[in-house]
Symmetry: C2
Subunit: 109 residues, 2 copies
DNA sequence: ATTCCGTTATGACTTTTATGCATAACGCAT
DNA sequence: ATGCGTTATGCATAAAAGTCATAACGGAAT
């Protein structure tokens, strides 16, 4: 038996950001490619792409600058806005899970 | 833009308890009927029933004593185990949402 | 006994959501 | 021109969630 917690941000009742999307943006930042990033975090490119599309639409912010074609086939990089958002979210998340786990152990064991 | 958080318990990777189920058990305790409880928390009887079934199977604990037929058509009451579990979960949940909301405001505003 | 009532119990269907597949378009480098 | 690995999407399929209809129950009133 284990405790799980989830944290996400909504806009107009629609989810726009959570742990999965955080991993995705992070991986894009690392690998410079949506495709590569998706593989790395074990989701399909299709899904990654849908995530990004939805995030950008709902947030009204451009998060990923993409280029199809060109040297190495193209790629993707995070915008400054994305980096800022990511940073805030990570701060947000930090400590929450630990708090939850602690509480769980204290009560259920 | 708003923050959302969710807390739930899993057994073997399967969810067994969360806020919705907490409301359900609580309502059953109050109304003495799954049917009535479901209406009260705005879910279908079918869903409520599925919840209970899954919880009991996965937890391996009898949570709701039911009777079909009889005076007033029957009804349902929580077992002692259910009450205990509910109590622990509520302790668990207490304070978490507040912590999250606070953190969110501090960072995003 | 028979009927009535509100309940539990489930199967079957429908709708929605998520996932996966196939394919087009891109543009630099060779 | 051709090749390469990428982004970009429509479309089909699968899975999950939700809805609907109906059976069975058993005490109480008739």
């Amino acid at each position: 038996m284990e405790i799980k917690s989830k944290l996400w941000i909504e806009v107009n009742g629609e989810p726009v950001f959570g742990r999965g999307r955080r991993f995705l943006l992070h991986a894009i930042d690392t690998y410079g490619s949506i495709n590569q990033a998706a593989k790395e975090i074990n989701i399909s490119y299709r899904k990654a792409w849908s995530y990004i599309k939805a995030m950008e639409e709902r947030l009204g912010i451009k998060l990923v600058k993409r280029q199809a074609g060109g040297r190495n086939g193209g790629g993707a990089v995070l915008t400054e806005d994305a980096r800022e958002f990511l940073k805030k979210y990570e701060q947000m998340e930090e400590g929450i899970r630990e708090t939850v786990d602690e509480k769980f152990k204290k009560i259920f064991y």
